[in-house]
Structures are given as structure tokens and as C-alpha cells.
Amino acid sequence: MRGTTTKGAKANGEALRDVRELRAIAATVLRLAKLCGVKETEVHVEEVVDALTRFANNAIHQNVAEHGLTVSMRTVVDGRTARVTTNRVGEDALRAALENSLALATSQPEDPHLLPLPGKQKYRVLQRFIPATAKLTAEERARAVKRACELAERSGQVAAGIFESGQSQTVMSNSRGLFATYRQTQAEFSVTMQHGGAASWAKANAADVRAIDPIALAQTASEKAARAQNPVELDHGRYTVILEPAAVLDLAGFLFYDFAATAVEDKRSCFSGRLGKTLFGKNITITDDVYHPEQLGPPFDGEGLPRERVVLVEKGVLRNLVYSRRSAKAARSNPTGHGFALPNEYGEAPMNLVIGGGNSSLEEMIRSTERGLLVTRLWYIREVDPYEKIMTGMTRDGLYLVEKGQIGRAARNFRFNQSILEMLGNVELLGAAHRASGEESMEMVVPPMKIRGFQFSEVTKF
């Protein structure tokens, strides 16, 4: 269906298709379903164009591009449902996928909890497609990478990282008249600077590539790497820590599924039996807000319901959960527009967490600290205890001793075993909240935090 030519091929990705092509595919699926006598059908058509330039040892070593389109359809027959996904978009292939979905659906027992498809909905318009990002070329990414590598070489360092740019669009439709569409761009630059045996790191992610300054990020990582040399080995134990936003994001982000009503209903959430209770400090407020100007993502969920802004934690008190249509009915509540595409066993989750910030700053947190540790980033975080929400993991790419209000020597990386519930009760200061990007959790809007009594249990060799 997509006409392409090799003449004048460029290193940038192809453009997204006209959205009318995706609408036509969705309409074809619904038409074929009607011809097959299917009572209810839902279809998602998604297209991704993405390119990523990867560098290490001060040179590009991987450089990739992809363009793909998938059609995912769900049929509902007599209280039974199943999903089939394909990337073949010819009518015969779509018909075969539909028949396959029907065969799967009818092979199972009836689900008494399955709801009819939702009807037409209204959505807020979100403009998150930035042409400057969509048009970014491999040459432009390569030139930015080259500048970062040259900066590393001038500093006697070795750079590694990525520069990614992409665009995506989705069309969702169902046989009850629901129709939703969304498109966005996304860019990301991440850089690690290695200095002898030490390293540091910086990363940014945004819809608009012009909001990302690769050289500034490289400069930050370079300066921190230079300070990270010859780390001192400290005793394990409880420390006051200053977590940079990426560290806050990667750790607190592990709470996201605990806010799902289905997780609470299944008694696998750390919030089971704790709704309405004061769990954190009064300075902690957490919302899920896809409409926050620094967030990305569509204004509708996997069932096509509009996403609502939900205050999850207010001044330390667990106020609300998020609900899909099914979990809302079970809890006699209202759906909040956070459901995953059906069928699934997980229900829903908040995908756009915002942790409210405060009036402090990293600088003030450092100045006010008699003895503590400044943490750049955390790594390989895993759950040790699901109800107390004890997480383990390592510090990485820059751990610095703070003494008498000043950053001092680097410290060897620690392993932590820390309850997130306890941690969010020990927050002394918060900075301004902005979109942060790590490697362990999805992007969120979070502030840097100063936290007392953070538990480090062991130290590693570097």
C-alpha cells in the first residue's frame, strides 16, 4: 500500500502515512467483521517510524532505522473475546486475521465479567507532533554525536550513548462508533562519559528535539565523570541522599502498577488495604496526568476511554486508584481511562505519573547537607518485598560524598535495599518537577529529592 522509491534515498526515516490510510484500514476491518457476522469488533492501527544512532568509544558503531505498521483487532462473541495482531494489511490478510480472532474467541469459556464495547467518546486534543523532530536526519544525529565525541576526546574521556528520533500515530475504532486518533514525535539523547575507571551520565527525552541540547548533556556528563575518579569506599548503612530526578524516577516509578485497582483487587499491590491511609510525608503528592505539558502519550486508553487526571496521593494520603471499565465495575467506581487493551489480566495502570515538586533545588539540598550522598542514577532495580515495596539496586555513573554543604570525593557504588513507602515518608526537600528520563521506569515528571535514612547494604568494587 505504501509507494516508495529508491531515488534520492536519504538517511532519515520515511514520513508517517496520511492518517486517512490508517482510517481506511480500520474501516476495512470493521466492514469485514460485519460481513462475517461479528457482533462487536475493535481495531487499533499503529504506525512507527524510528531511527537511532548509537555511539561508543567516541565513534558511531550502530545506526538503525525502522518503519512498521500493525493492525490489532479484537472480536467479541457471546461474552468471549480474543485479539489478533498482524502487520499484513491486504484485505485477504485482514480477513484471515479476523477469522483467526473469531476462532480464538469462540474456543474459550464465556467470561461473565466481559463488558460490551464502549461507544463514541470525546477527547481533548493534544498537539505533540513536532515537525522538527520528525524531520531529523541521520546526518544531523551523526553531527551531534561527533561533537559529543570530540568533547570527550578533548577531556581525555570516552563517550557512549544514543541519539534517537521518531514519530508514531495510532487510530482506534470500534463497531459501536468509537473513533480515536493520536500522533506524536519523540527524541532522546543519552550520553555516558568514561574517565579512566570512572563514568557519569546525562539523558533527556522530549517531543521536540529542539528542547534537547546534546552538547550541554555531554558537558554535564563529562564534568561529573571527571569528578568521579578515584572513588573512596564508604561503610554501608543509612545515609542522607540527594537523588537527582533520574534516580527518583527510576525508583518511585516502580509504584506505577501498585496504583491499579486490579492489582489491589488481586491483592498484589503494596496499596492493598491501604486506600485512604497516610503512607508518605505531607510533602508528597502524586497525580497521573497525561495532559501535563511535559508528558507524552495519547489522551485515551486501550479501550478508547478518555484518560482522566487522577490525584493518586494527596499530601501523603493514598486517595485514589486508577480503573479500567472492568475494575471500576467490580469496585463500584468509575473508569478513569487507564485500561490496557483487552483481553489482559493486568487491568490498568497510570502511565503519566507526576510527582509534585517543591521550592528547593539541587544546589540548596547540597548546601543544607552536613553529610550525605549525591546520587546521579540508579541501576538494575528489582522488587525484594512486594508489600513493603522494598527494592534493591545499585547506584551508577556518579555517586558523590556531600560534606558540610559541598560536593566532595566520589564514592564507590552502593547496593541499596530500600522500601519506597519508607523513602517517601523521609523526604526532607523537593526541587522543581520536570520530565525526567532514566532506564528502569518510563518517563515521568519528578523533582529531585533530599531523603534521610536511605539504606545502603553493600558496596561494590568501583
Binding site: T4, A11, Q62, A138, Q194, K267
Partner: protein, 486 residues
């Protein structure tokens, strides 16, 4: 498919590529889950497309497309060459590939029963029956089961003349019982946690697992854990069950031996490795009884790291990694082999799919069995803890310091397995840990475990790896640190 392969290679050559390889892949997957007696996920997917990797002006480029027409694959090849030329703007030296012969071959992984031909009702009936058997146990608050099947056809061709078709069929299955009681959540899984056991094989795997026999035990143990004593904090003797040892191998041997990590190519994301090049043939990695191989050959077993050719067209091989405790080999590619003095790649390069760049991945990284039976090993242990089934895993970005916790443990006293322990964990430094290994169980206890969820690369790729292991004993291990209050 060969026509698309050939045409894209021709276009790449015409555009200036000095080397190119292409993969057309057709991937089919079926996912089934149940939860608390109801069907959870029920879905099937397929994806077909082409990915081409080229060297032009001495640098790499890769592009992929799902438009399988002559025009579509030509545009994709041209884009890959253009990207390679952009890469050349920031290159240090030209890419050099180790020699490899050209192969024309076709291979299908062995299986007895095609899982896609088994009626869905049969598969769901088994999962729902296992689910129900777990729910019959009083105190269980959540039951989950899953099956996953994959069938992947790959048509590989290179500008050097290789044309290889492979079909791999993978099956996986597992069950989990969870019990929330008071202020704690405990769970037990079978035959392994995080999706169960996965092999290169057909539905015969599922039938061999006897889910209905194990479901009540799994549920009873999940409930019993609440009444068990807390795993003590101490330094002592540890016996790991086979699946946990498999994950220990994965994290503290499999990843550090990846040559791309060692060379800094993963420094920004997955990390680097303590196994710097000067350690090869010098480091005492483990005690002398430890022998580890990376073996992708079918002779090693039906593992997730088993194939006939890797995704660079290099035949499957068995590589010694640790021999009598000494470190002696890395996982390499055609690009990296010469950096460790090898004339040929170790054949470990794989891709998640047609739209991802092939990269160095673990194959089946396995420990050779020792002489012990588990019964004798326990009888030989005066005081120790036996831990089974992973609950969490974490290791630093150079693969020195690790911490694992498992679902369950038993105390060993006077050569006997005694009381159950909850919340077990252990930690250590990789080489210190492996050098403390003083007993490995024999072939009767050895199983090739499948790890279906290994993440690496940017964009992230998820890959299945295999790890043959039998229970083994370690001395002077730090136990219980995860729950320490100190």
C-alpha cells in the same frame, strides 16, 4: 523471500555497500494466560518484514521495512546505505569482519507436536485445570498460569553468498500461586518463576511438565511460607537449586563474557564488564571443579540459545568459557573476534526480529554437571541453606556485585533438609562466589533452563537464552542481606 533478499543485496551493492546481510523474518506467537479461574490474555500475532545491515565507507548502517515488494526492499536497502554513510561521519576506523565461509542450508528445530496445531481448547483446559487446582488450596489469594508459543522463520542471505533458512519453534509454560496474608505477600511458581520453563521444542514440553500434579504443592507452599521462619542473616553454606543457578550463570557469567560489553559498546545502557581483555586465560574465575561452556549446538539440548546458524550466518559452536575454573573465552561476533585473537566468530550474534540489528547475545551458557546427587550433597552439608526459584535479581553494571532472592528456602542441619524459610536472599562478588563452589550435582539433576526475557541493546531487544545447570553448593556466602536492618 529469497527474491526480496537478493534484490535488497543488489541495491545495497549498487549504492556502495562493501558488505551486506539481510534477514526476512516471519514471526508467529500465541499467548494464553489465566487468572483466578478466568482467561486473561488470549491473543495471537504475526509479523513479517525485512532488515538489512550494510557496511559502506567502512561504517555500519541498518534499516528495516514491512513493505515486502521489490520497491519496498530496495528503498530499505538504499536507506541502510545512506545511514552507513552518515555513520562514517563519526567513525574511528573501518569495520573489519572475520572470515566466514558461505553456506546454503535449511534447518528446522526439532519438535514432536507443533503447538500451533494443538486445539486452543486443549491448551486452555489444561491451564484452567491447573488454575483451579491451585485455588482449591485454602489461603491462596491469586492464581495465574501462562503458555507462550513462537514459530520464527528466518531467511538469511549475505553479499558473500550465504543463503540459510531456519525455522525455530519455542514453547513455554508456568503456573504461580500467590498468598496475601497480614502484611506480607508470598508466592510460589512452577517449574520456574517469571513465565516458567521455555525450550526450543513443541507442545511436548507442556505435557512433560505435569502441571496438575505440581499445582497443589505450589499453592500449599505459597500459603505455608507465611508461617515459615525468616531466612537468617549470616555468612555460610548455600545450595542453589538448578533454575536459580541458571540465572546466577546468566547474570554473573553470561553477561560479563559478552565481548561488545567488554569493548565498551554497551557502556551507556547495559553496562560494561569486569572481564577486561587482559583477564583472558589468566583470571581464576571459579574453583577448579567449575566448567562452563557457551554451546549453541542442538547436541547441547533444546535451549533458547540453540540454532544451526547465528544471525550473521555463522554455524553454531561450543565455546569453552571457564575450564577447570580458569577464564578462557568470550562471546564474539565477526566484527569483534579478531580483537581477542580469534580467526573466526564464536557465532553468538542474534536479533529479536526483522526490525532489529543483530548483536552479541548469550547462546546456551551452561555449567557442566559434577558427580554429586542432590541427596548426597545435602547429606554432606552439616549446616546450610537450600534456596530455590528466583524472586528477584540485581547486579552492578560491571557484573561484580550481585544480590538474588528466591521464593523459598530450607534449612539444612546435620545433613538433613529441615524447616522451611521465607524471604531468602544472598549476595556477593562474582569471582569470590564462583571460587567458593565446592560441589555440583550430576547429570540426573542437570536441566537446560530457558530465560525468555533477557534485555539488551538500544532499541531494547528481548532475547531467549539457555542455561544448563544442576544444583550446586557454595561456601562462605552472605545470606539474608536483603532484609537486613543494619
Amino acid at each position: 523471500m529469497w527474491e526480496y533478499c537478493g534484490h535488497s543485496l543488489d541495491v545495497a551493492r549498487l549504492r556502495g555497500a562493501t558488505y551486506a546481510d539481510v534477514r526476512v523474518m516471519h514471526m508467529r506467537q500465541r499467548d494464553l494466560t489465566t487468572k483466578n479461574g478466568h482467561v486473561g490474555t488470549l491473543g495471537q500475532s504475526e509479523s513479517i518484514g525485512l532488515g538489512i545491515r550494510v557496511i559502506a565507507q567502512g561504517a555500519w548502517g541498518f534499516a528495516s521495512t514491512d513493505v515486502l515488494t521489490r520497491e519496498g526492499v530496495a528503498a530499505c536497502a538504499a536507506q541502510a546505505v545512506a545511514i552507513a554513510k552518515a555513520s562514517a561521519l563519526a567513525k574511528k576506523k573501518d569495520v573489519r569482519l572475520a572470515h566466514e565461509a558461505a553456506y546454503v542450508d535449511s534447518w528446522q528445530s526439532p519438535f514432536v507436536k507443533d503447538p500451533f496445531e494443538i486445539p486452543l481448547e486443549t491448551q486452555l483446559d489444561l491451564l484452567l485445570a491447573a488454575d483451579e487446582a491451585m485455588r482449591r488450596v485454602k489461603g491462596v489469594t491469586l492464581t495465574e498460569t501462562d503458555m507462550q508459543f513462537r514459530k520464527v522463520d528466518t531467511w538469511f542471505a549475505s553479499s558473500e553468498g550465504s543463503k540459510i533458512h531456519q525455522r525455530r519453534v519455542v514453547s513455554g509454560c508456568g503456573i504461580v500461586a500467590t498468598c496475601f496474608q497480614g502484611d506480607a505477600i508470598q508466592k510460589r511458581s512452577y517449574p520456574n518463576s517469571f513465565g516458567g520453563q521455555h525450550v526450543l521444542g513443541g507442545y511436548e514440553l507442556i505435557e512433560s511438565l505435569d502441571l496438575l500434579k505440581h499445582a497443589p504443592r505450589v499453592a500449599e507452599e505459597a500459603v505455608a511460607l507465611h508461617g515459615a521462619a525468616q531466612c537468617p542473616e549470616r555468612t555460610g553454606t548455600l545450595i542453589l537449586g538448578g533454575s536459580q543457578l541458571g540465572l546466577q550463570i546468566h547474570e554473573s557469567i553470561g553477561h560479563p563474557i559478552e565481548l561488545d560489553r567488554v569493548l565498551g559498546q554497551e557502556a551507556n545502557f547495559a553496562g560494561t564488564s569486569f572481564l577486561t581483555l587482559d583477564q583472558l586465560h589468566h583470571l581464576r574465575y571459579a574453583s577448579p571443579i567449575v566448567n562452563v561452556v557457551a554451546d549453541a549446538r542442538i547436541a547441547h539440548g533444546p535451549g533458547l540459545g540453540t540454532f544451526a546458524y547465528d544471525d550473521e550466518g555463522v554455524p553454531a559452536q561450543c565455546i569453552d568459557i571457564i575450564k577447570a575454573g580458569k577464564f578462557c573465552g568470550y562471546l564474539s561476533s565477526r566484527e569483534t573476534a579478531h580483537l581477542v585473537g580469534l580467526e573466526r566468530s564464536g557465532g553468538t550474534v542474534r536479533t529479536e526480529g526483522w526490525n532489529r540489528l543483530p548483536m552479541i547475545r548469550m547462546t546456551n551458557v551452561s555449567i557442566r554437571p559434577g558427580p554429586w546427587t542432590l541427596e548426597n550433597l545435602i547429606a554432606d552439608t552439616d549446616e546450610g541453606i537450600l534456596m530455590e526459584t528466583n524472586r528477584s535479581w540485581s547486579i552492578d553494571d560491571r557484573r561484580y556485585q550481585f544480590q538474588f532472592s528466591t521464593e523459598i528456602a530450607w534449612e539444612i542441619n546435620g545433613g538433613k533438609k529441615t524447616r522451611m524459610l521465607k524471604n531468602p536472599s544472598y549476595s556477593g562478588i562474582t569471582t569470590e562466589f564462583w571460587n567458593s563452589c565446592d560441589a555440583i550435582c550430576n547429570d540426573d539433576h542437570w536441566l537446560l533452563w530457558g530465560t525468555p526475557n533477557c534485555g539488551k541493546g538500544q532499541p531494547m531487544q528481548t532475547m531467549g537464552t539457555g542455561h544448563g545447570a544442576s544444583p550446586a553448593r557454595f561456601q562462605n556466602v552472605k545470606i539474608g542481606t536483603a532484609f537486613s536492618e543494619e
